[in-house]
């Protein structure tokens, strides 16, 4: 009996993915867990292993195609006589090497022996409402029970907890998924009247960035505070230690110091390490410090997350940053690499500039932007001296904090950058 593998639920909120690569051909005999497809989701490029051993009978998708969760990917034919008639997704989650993925391992697919689908009547009603076939839903409850969240996930609607945007919607105004923000773009003029044009479809990642940025810009009243940090001393440390670090395989850059400085300042100003629950009228303070770092790739902007930055020494941060950025650029980041950030740092210094106002990575509260540090004439004690000055911008959600708070928080970062020993000897 042929078995069809459908796009499994890839995790919170992800409803579709773009097929990047099909790694098998029809007629191939594959082992269980051998790589089948590469897909790109909103968040990452991931490899999907085969849930079955068997002969690939039919491939239903091709590279470039966007598929929804539950859509057939590959059909397998009979092979070794194990003809279990598994017809629905065995729900192979995107393989992530992080230990956290172990507990996210998919439970068994619901029984297909004709017994009733284990779900409460209200969950079954929800499934009907959302047009979800319960038999194809991955269950997360005890005894294979399907929960409301499972159904919403399968329907592509993020579950309550994983969807702050929707939750914020109720009283606080326009905090809804982008589609509902209500900014219907006016029709475009016919550009052809002025000259030839070419239409290019947006890549999956580009579309995601567009939606996230528009959501954040529409939803959050952004305020930006400008300042400069004197990083002359810090620069000396970076330059002096660079070679030594390199010999240990560590690419030492300013960014790891920025991360550390931001993490320590966030301890002092926890309202910037938070998310606003507008629906509940509450500020959710996060007792962990996972910092996102904007990484430019040839496919677009991706923000991987480094965990527990406050607890890690700078050298460790530098090491992690390098491997993480490399993974991201190679398109090999896992979903867990990209989730759970509490605050973001974006460093465009490598590309120059005297300052930039980034857009907050919703649902975070603030983002630190850094331009290129340059030697500038600075007046110190009545003398003009050359100092290396780093332009920084702190952009934050004015609903959560005021200008004075932002200025103090920015100062807390600058103070640490200007006294780099505080980044090693923390207080």
């Amino acid at each position: 009996m042929p078995r069809t593998f459908v796009l499994p639920d890839l995790g919170e909120g992800l409803v579709e993915a773009e097929i990047r690569n099909v790694l098998v051909k029809e007629g191939d005999v594959v082992r269980e867990d051998s790589p089948l497809l590469e897909v790109e989701t909103d968040k990452a490029q991931v490899e999907i292993p085969s849930p079955f051993a068997g002969r690939v009978e039919k491939i239903h998708v091709q590279p470039g195609q966007t598929v929804k969760v539950g859509q057939p990917l590959v059909s397998f034919g009979d092979e070794t006589g194990t003809s279990a008639p598994t017809r629905s997704a065995p729900a192979v989650a995107a393989r992530a090497p992080a230990p956290a993925s172990a507990e996210r391992k998919a439970p068994a697919a619901p029984p297909v022996d004709g017994s009733p689908v284990p779900a409460t009547p209200s969950t079954r009603r929800l499934a009907r409402e959302l047009g979800v076939d319960l038999r194809a839903v991955r269950s997360s409850g005890p005894g294979g029970r399907i929960t409301d969240d499972d159904v919403r996930g399968a329907a592509g609607k993020p579950a309550g907890a994983a969807q702050p945007a929707a939750k914020a919607a109720a009283p606080a105004g326009p905090a809804k998924p982008l589609a509902a923000v209500g900014l219907e773009p006016p029709p475009l003029p016919k550009f052809e009247q002025w000259g030839p044009v070419e239409r290019q479809p947006l890549s999956h990642l580009r579309r995601t960035i567009a939606e996230r940025m528009a959501l954040s810009a529409a939803l959050i009243p952004h305020v930006t505070h400008f300042d400069k940090a004197d990083i002359t001393d810090l620069n000396t440390i970076v330059t002096r230690s660079f070679e030594a670090a390199k010999q240990r395989g560590i690419m030492l850059t300013l960014t790891s110091f920025l991360l550390k400085a931001a993490a320590l300042a966030l301890q002092e100003y926890p309202q910037f390490n938070a998310s606003l629950d507008a629906g509940a009228g509450e500020l959710i303070l996060k007792r962990y410090c996972h910092l996102g770092i904007a990484v430019a790739t040839d496919r677009g902007l991706i923000v991987p997350v480094i965990r527990d930055v406050d607890k890690k020494p700078v050298m460790e941060l530098a090491r992690e940053l390098a491997t993480l950025a490399a993974r991201v650029r190679e398109g090999k980041a896992t979903l867990d690499d990209l989730r759970g950030g509490t605050f973001t740092v974006t460093n465009i210094g490598a590309l120059g500039g005297t300052g930039a106002i980034p857009i907050i990575n919703y649902p975070e509260v603030a983002i630190l932007g850094v331009a290129r540090g340059r030697e500038e004439p600075v007046v110190r004690g009545g003398q003009i001296v050359p100092r290396t000055m780093l332009p920084i911008t702190l952009t934050f959600d004015h609903r959560v904090a005021d200008g004075a708070d932002g200025a103090r928080f920015a100062q807390a970062i600058i103070r640490r950058l200007e006294a780099p020993e505080t980044l090693f000897v923390e207080w």
């Binding site: 029984p111 022996d113 017994s115 009733p116 284990p118 779900a119 409460t120 009547p121 079954r124 009603r125 009907r128 409402e129 409850g141 005890p142 005894g143 294979g144 029970r145």
Partner: protein, 465 residues
């Protein structure tokens, strides 16, 4: 349509005022649909209220009181021989029980704005019902819900023009207390009414065609009931048929297979019920019928005719009021465009005998037939403190779970109060809980409800032994 017809235009016409019909009508009204009920008796309640569930339970309560009084002698309380007056008994049943509930339903209908039209209705086409009788009129509807229910079945060989041969409806009237009563049929109706008459003083002979009482229920659940019936009824003949009935003077002579011809004062024929799908004018609609006159419906209670829904006994087994009520609400919600469905996993069945037998979900025998991998746990009430205090250690609680996941698939309970106890089981099955969930849920002590917890616990710890 004839000129001069009185025409009523409504959103929803419900044919039949029983539990399925009134549930559909009430829900329709709640959802803002203009709704009428066409009922031959111009009343709500149907067979359930007037000829079934309710009056039989009233009589079974009387039987239970008599049984308890009798048992009281065990612990030194003697009420003496009971004196039974049929007139007050009937009056209590008819006025205080049935009448009260009937008036209640009528006032609910009024409050919800559901009009009741008296008369027999039949379809003229997929949008029209013609109502005969005292209030002849034509009802034009956008949707109809057929809920006309079922009637007691009488096999041709047993049909006799004598009021000594009763169906369940007649027996519930308790015309008298026959000295010798023959009950044909060992299903729930025969057993319930047989026990009523036995408690009132009749000598009951019960004849059942199959090899056991309550065909279809797991044997271990039936056993305590069978034992009780053996005490209550002077004779039980299994695997036996009654081949002929003949009225001779004031008695009915019954030819029972393998027995001499016996004389009885009355006979109760309780061999089942049949759907009433004839003379409804269904041929003028696109409604399709299945075997035995049942109307074919889908999960949303839709018939093959897009304007016509059907609920209740008419749509097949199990013919139970509570199934019809749920279906009625589903039909109403679907008519109102809501995403409703009769996707219920468990329809509890209760036999209100002494002891009661109740079950829902998957039965052990069904699991065996289907070759399903299940685990079965039984808790004998001999180990129940509560059962001991009421002198009823003959009960049994039985739990059937999926072998792999521990999910509760079926429950069977025999014993006093089983009909109430099965509610927890229905919830458990419907909401897909596991044996562990049942085992760790605190059940009040001492109660009979602990049985389910105990059974679940034995499954959990069975693997550790």
């Amino acid at each position: 349509m004839v000129m001069g017809d009185l025409v009523t235009e409504v959103d929803v016409a419900v044919l039949g005022g029983g539990p399925g019909g009134y549930s559909a009508a009430f829900r329709c009204a709640e959802l803002g649909l203009e709704t009428v009920v066409v009922d031959a008796g111009k009343r709500l309640g149907g067979a359930c209220l007037y000829e079934g569930c309710i009056p039989s339970k009233a009589l079974l309560h009387v039987a239970a009181v008599l049984g308890e009084a009798e048992r009281a002698r065990e612990f030194g309380v003697d009420f003496g021989e009971p004196r039974i007056s049929l007139d007050p008994l009937r009056k209590w049943k008819t006025d205080r029980v049935v009448g009260k509930l009937s008036r209640g339903l009528a006032s609910v209908a009024k409050a919800k704005g559901v009009q009741i039209i008296g008369g027999r209705g039949a379809f003229e086409d997929s949008r029209t019902i013609r109502v005969g009788g005292d209030e002849p009129q034509v009802v034009r509807f956008k949707h109809a819900v057929i809920a006309v229910g079922s009637l007691p079945m009488v096999p041709p060989g047993l049909a006799l023009e004598s009021d000594r041969v009763m169906d369940s409806t007649a027996a519930l009237e308790v015309p008298d207390i026959p000295e010798r009563l023959l009950v044909i049929g060992g299903g729930y109706i025969g057993l319930e009414l047989g026990q009523v008459y036995a408690a009132l003083g009749s000598r009951v002979t019960l004849v059942e065609m199959t090899d056991g009482l309550l065909p279809g229920a797991d044997r271990d659940l039936v056993q305590p009931l069978a034992r009780r019936c053996e005490k209550l009824f002077p004779a039980i003949h299994l695997k036996t048929k009654v081949t002929a009935l003949k009225e001779v003077g004031d008695t009915i002579e019954a030819a029972v297979e393998g027995q001499d011809v016996q004389a009885f004062d009355r006979v109760l024929v309780a061999v089942g019920r049949r759907a009433v799908s004839e003379s409804l004018g269904l041929e003028t609609t696109k409604v399709k019928l299945a075997d035995r006159g049942f109307v074919l419906v889908d999960e949303r209670c839709r018939t093959s005719d897009p304007h016509v829904y059907a609920v209740g006994d008419l749509t097949g087994e199990p013919m139970l009021a509570h199934r019809a009520m749920r279906q009625g609400k589903v039909a109403a919600e679907c008519i109102a465009g809501r995403p409703s469905a009769f996707d219920n996993v468990a329809v509890p069945a209760v036999v209100f005998t002494d002891p009661e037998v109740a079950w829902c979900g998957l039965m052990e025998s069904q699991a065996q037939q289907a070759g399903r991998s299940v685990k079965v746990a039984k808790f004998s009430w001999a180990a129940s403190g509560r059962a001991a205090t009421i002198g009823r250690s003959d009960g049994l609680t039985k739990l059937i779970v999926d072998a792999a996941t521990g999910r509760v698939l079926g429950v069977g309970i025999t014993g006093p109060g089983a009909g109430e106890l099965i509610a927890e089981a229905a919830l458990a099955i419907e909401t897909a809980v596991t044996a562990e969930d049942l085992a760790v849920t605190i059940h009040a002590h001492p109660t009979l409800s602990e049985g389910l917890m105990e059974a679940a616990e034995s499954l959990l710890h069975g693997g550790e032994k």
